[in-house]
Each structure stands twice: as C-alpha cells, then as structure tokens.
C-alpha cells in the first residue's frame, strides 16, 4: 500500500497529502491560476512529445515527401534549371530552404489535426472539462506541435550536406530559429482549423487542399522575381513566402557566391519594388501565428 508520507510542502498551497483513518490520500485541488494554467499547458505539450516519440512511422513518412522533392524533383529539374543558376550553385541548393519548410509543414498541421482525432476518440473532452483555462490547452497544443515540427525540420536540416549546403553553426541556428517560428504559425493555423472541423477525414482533406498551394506559392521552388503579375500577388499573400525568403537568404549568405548572385537568387520579398526587411518578414509570420492562436482560443472557449 502506498504510504502517503507527509511531504515537505512542495506546492505553495501547503501540505496537501495527509493520511487519514482509512489511509485515504486527500487531494486538495487548488484554485485556478496562472500556475495551474502553466502546468496544464506543459502537460498538453509533453503529451505531444510522447505521442511523437512513440510514433516512429510518422517520423519516417513525414520525411518521404521532402526527400522526394529535394532529390528526385531537385535533381530532375536541376538538369533543366541549372543553366540559369550561377556556376557552383545547384538547383537542389536553391530549393533546399523551401524543402526544409515543407518538412515542417506536414508535421505541424498533422500535429494540430490530432485535436480533431482527440475529439473523435473522446480525449478532447477530458481536456475541455478540466478546470483550467482553455487558452492554456490551446497554447500547450500549439507549442507541442511547434516542438515536434521543428524536430522534424531538424532531421531535414541534417541532410544539408546532400544539397551542398554547409554545416555552419550560425546558419543552422538561424534556420532552427526560423523553423520554430514557422512551426508555431503552422500549428496555430492547424489548431484554428481543428476548432471548427469535427471529422478527421474532413480535416485532412481540407488541409491537404491548402497545404500544396501554400507550398507552391511560397517561392520554395522558384525565384519570386520576374513572375507574372497574378502569381506575384498570390505569392505575396502566402504567409509561407515570408519565411522561405529569409531562410533562403540565410542559406545563400553562407555560400561562396558573389553579392550579385546572392541578390539575384535570394532577394527577399518585395512589395512593388520595395524589399521587405527581414524583421518585418518574420514579424508578419509571427503576427499571423499569434492571431490564429488567438482565434483558436476564442473558438475553443465557445465550445461546450
């Protein structure tokens, strides 16, 4: 039998464990507060990590698509596109930043989709009936998705050498930072969608439908300059654009190429000829993430 040793008050609420006549452990559930909300967010986050760790298959399948794009599409199209690239720069290197973003894309959205899954299998209810702020749960979920997606992105980052990208510590840290931001925004987007969609299949269908256009319009596979007007507009609307461009900038500034080539290949996003500064570009992505997470919190507060 468990001996409920009276503990040195771990929680500021005072000793809550006190053996009574029937050896019953009394638990005093504390009032709601920031501390409780943080604990709730943290456990939702940890669950995401446990689920990810035990799901090896998902880790591998999420890698298939980026690898396919990078090596099959990259090599194949590279034969064609190679002529327009400066010597020493391969097409694989050019699309590499976008492919890293892609590795994150699926994992982040799939991770958010587990909310729909949880709803169908009942576990969401366990979370929603708990006496904690719903915002804490949404936040925990967003951070969980951010963590696993970034981790998935790091696996793709490990392939850098195969795309002729140097393993430069500064570059890797920069990219990881940008991946974190991207993962958060994508997860927040997924969670926002999951708040409304009740069936997992519908969620997958809808996100699949959105993910590909997001990816194709992000400039991951082609330069953003010199596009027809309609495509220019669409690429500028795509939030992914604002993260792929800084990532490409980071990669190319660590390559041994001329400033002119750097400017031609990774010019950053421009609005009517004005180059959007790096900070604003990242700020847009962050703002969208925060905004969508906010909408998700409002949505979840409305249910039940």
């Amino acid at each position: 039998m468990a001996t409920p040793t009276t503990t040195e008050a771990a929680a500021p609420q005072g000793p809550a464990v006190q053996p009574d006549l029937t050896d019953l452990i009394r638990v005093a559930v504390p009032e709601r507060g920031l501390r409780q909300d943080l604990r709730a967010a943290s456990v939702v986050w940890r669950r995401e990590l446990i689920r990810f760790r035990t799901d090896r298959l998902r880790m591998i399948t999420s890698l298939v698509q980026p690898v396919l794009f990078l090596f099959v599409l990259g090599t194949g199209l590279g034969a064609l596109a190679g002529h327009s690239l400066p010597p020493g720069v391969s097409f694989k290197t050019f699309i590499y930043p976008g492919i890293v973003a892609m590795g994150v894309l699926f994992t982040a959205i799939f991770s958010a989709g587990s909310i729909v899954w949880d709803r169908e299998f009942g576990f969401l209810r366990e979370m929603l009936v708990a006496p904690v702020n719903r915002g804490a749960i949404v936040l925990g979920k967003c951070l969980g998705g951010t963590t696993v997606a970034t981790f998935q992105g790091i696996i793709v980052l490990a392939l850098a050498g195969l795309a002729d990208v140097p393993y430069n510590p500064v570059l890797i840290i920069t990219l990881i930072g940008e991946l974190l931001l991207l993962s958060f925004t994508l997860t927040a987007f997924g969670v926002m969608m999951a708040a409304r969609i009740k069936q997992f299949q519908a969620f997958m269908a809808l996100t699949q439908m959105l993910v590909m256009p997001l990816f194709f319009l992000s400039g991951a596979l082609y330069p953003l300059n010199g596009l027809p007007a309609w495509l220019t507009v669409l690429t500028r609307i795509d939030p992914l654009t604002y993260i792929v461009a800084p990532m490409r900038r980071a990669v190319f500034s660590h390559l041994n190429i001329s400033p002119a080539a750097l400017h031609a290949l990774a010019p950053g996003v421009s609005w009517f000829g004005w180059t959007v500064p790096l900070g604003l570009s990242l700020g847009i992505v962050a703002l969208m993430g925060v905004g969508m997470a906010g909408i998700a919190i409002v949505e979840f507060n409305k249910t039940e």
């Binding site: 039998m1 006549l21 559930v29």
Partner: protein, 351 residues
C-alpha cells in the same frame, strides 16, 4: 488556495450507505436541482425537474435512452447550460461557478475519453497535471486509485491493449484521482458483458467503503439501479418517481406474469373477460400483474382456453416499477427512442 470541503471530519469513517435524511443542511446536500429545464430548439429534453442528492449517497437516474438522463448529467457536470432552473453541485452553482464545480467532481463518460496510445500511468499523470493535483500527492494517489480498480500491475501497458472493462475501470480510477466529492458515472457499464458489469459494480461498491464520496449515475439497466441508495425514474424529461429501490418495488407490490400462448389476442381478451385482468403484449409476451403469481398460474391453466406454451412469474423488479409508472417496459421504449436519439445526435453533432 486549497479547496477542501470538510469531508473527513476526524473519526467519522463512513460505514455503509448513507442513511435516510435525518437532517438536511447545505453541508449534507451534494446535488440540489430545482425547476431545471433544457430545450434544444423545439425539443424539450428536460422539462422541469427537482431533486436532491445527499452526501455519501449513491443516486441513480433510471430511464430509457432519450429520457433526459444524459442531458441532466451534462448540466450537473457543467457541460451543458440549462435553459432555466438552477442546479447546485458540491455547494456551487453549475452556471456561475463552473470551475469550482469541475474541481469538485469526477466524471466518467459513456464513451471512453482515454488516450489509448498512452499508458495507464501517462493517462493518470495527464489528468493529475490538468487538475493541478499537488505534485507530492500524485504518485501515492495514483497508486491508490490504480490499486482500487486492480490495474496497478498493468500501469505501464498502453491503454490500447486493455479490454473494455479495464478501460472503464481506468476511467473510474482517473475520475477519482483528484479526490472529487461527487463522482458522476454516465452509463458506467454500457456495452460491457455481464461479468464485467458485475465486476465494475464490485469496484464501485468497494470504492464507497473507502472514499467519502457521493456517486451520481445514470443507467438504463434495471438490475444496476438496485445498487443505488435512491433512484429517480425519468421519462420524457420528467421525474416520475423518486425513492429507494425497495420502496419503489413495494409501491408496485404485484408479481409480474408473462405467458406465451397460441393466440395472444384471444388470451388477452379471455384474461379480461374471466379474471378482469388487464394484460398487454410486451417483448412479444402477454404480460400482466397479479397479487400472487404462484397461486394464479394453476387457475390460468385450468380456465384459459388458449393453449399456453410457457409461463414465467417474476417478483416485482424495477422493470415493473418503471412499467407501472410509465406504462411501458424499458425495452419497449428502446426501439422507438433509438431512432429519435439518432436524429438528435445528427442534429447536434457528437461532441
């Protein structure tokens, strides 16, 4: 601040079920409901009910599917807002004081709400964190509740590998983890085989001995209602009877006879003409109530012209109670209400 309602006054180890109400102070009332209604569009799921549940009691809500049981329990658990009326649970209003109510109750839903890809222990830890169980209390309390339901040895197995009965037990353990004052069980044994059902009840009864807890449950199994200290029979959103199982059965007072005959129509007519007994077809059998079944059966064989194929005599059960209050057996209502429920489920979507 620690919220700890004074459940464990020194030396007052509870023995057996709560006695009848000698006094009724707010302290002793676990649930108090008055004039409660709930509408879904033009469907009135709960149509003005009043009742009280005393502390330490096992209180059962008995009724067919779609009678308003689940709606009522959902209101009490703060999952659904009532249209009108008030409900006070563990001393707090379910609408205005939602979080406090939630902290003080444990919930076991009809459908599983476990993460089956986690182990039993991980599921419980998740719950403990979510409910803010003080860190030092988590491990001992977890062991206690797992031992209570006989799952301590299986704590490291994935819940996926559990049988239906084990999952339900784990849910009960989880519902108890934060030491709630009231445990709500919505159809705790639905979909389980008879052996598992009775084992679940063994655990629930054992739990009553060990924890100072009020249990509120819904069921549509008559035999389960017998485990309750008091029962409310609910039908069409109204409480039609509320009392102890014994008192309810005594109020019916008659034995139930069911016969199968060559021609049921004729048998019903003959019963009316010769014995003045009102019989009806239930579950495909001619069913009626008489004072003393054993003495009546010989007369039945002697005086009824229609050949009788089989006879069964039953002492009054809650089934009869239900029938005498609603005019139907609980199984009669299943067929018709199943369709209505399905329609409702589609309309409101499953949560």
């Amino acid at each position: 601040m620690a919220v700890q309602t004074g459940g464990e006054a020194e030396g007052s180890a509870r023995t057996g079920p709560a006695g009848p109400s000698q006094f009724s102070t707010a302290e002793d009332t676990a649930v108090s409901v008055s004039k409660l209604t709930k509408r879904y569009g033009d469907l009135e799921a709960v149509r003005g009910i009043d009742f009280e549940v005393r502390r330490g009691e096992t209180f059962g809500f008995l009724g067919p599917n779609g009678a308003g049981k689940s709606t009522t329990i959902s209101i009490l658990c703060t999952l659904v807002k009532p249209t009108s009326g008030t409900a006070v649970v563990a001393g707090h209003n379910v609408v205005t004081d939602r979080d406090t109510v939630r902290r003080n109750i444990g919930l076991v839903f009809q459908d599983t709400t476990l993460d089956t890809y986690l182990t039993a222990e991980q599921n419980l830890r998740f719950h403990a964190e979510l409910y803010g169980v003080p860190r030092a209390a988590v491990a001992p309390r977890m062991r206690q509740v797992l031992e209570m339901v006989g799952l301590w040895d299986r704590r490291e197995s994935l819940v996926r590998t559990y049988s239906g009965g084990m999952q339900r037990r784990l849910e009960i353990a989880r519902g108890l983890l934060h030491a709630p004052h009231i445990l709500f069980l919505d159809e705790p044994t639905v979909g389980l085989d008879p052996q598992t059902r009775s084992s679940i009840w063994r655990y629930i009864n054992d739990l009553k001995q060990r924890e100072d807890i009020t249990i509120f449950l819904t069921t549509h199994y008559m035999d389960e209602a017998e485990h309750c200290d008091r029962i409310a029979i609910i039908d069409h959103g109204l409480i039609v009877a509320i009392d102890t199982p014994e008192a309810l059965k005594a109020s019916v007072g008659k034995d139930r006879v069911q016969i199968s005959t060559a021609d049921d129509e004729v048998a019903i007519r003959e019963l009316a003409e010769r014995f003045g007994i009102e019989a009806a077809l239930h579950e495909g059998l001619v069913t009626f109530s008489v004072e003393s079944g054993e003495e009546f059966v010989p007369r039945l064989f002697a005086e009824l012209d229609v050949p009788i194929r089989s006879v069964s005599v039953a002492r009054p059960s809650l089934d009869d109670v239900f029938m005498s209050y609603t005019g139907r057996t609980i199984r009669d209502t299943e067929a018709s209400s199943a369709d209505a429920m399905r329609a409702m489920a589609q309309r409101f979507g499953r949560r």
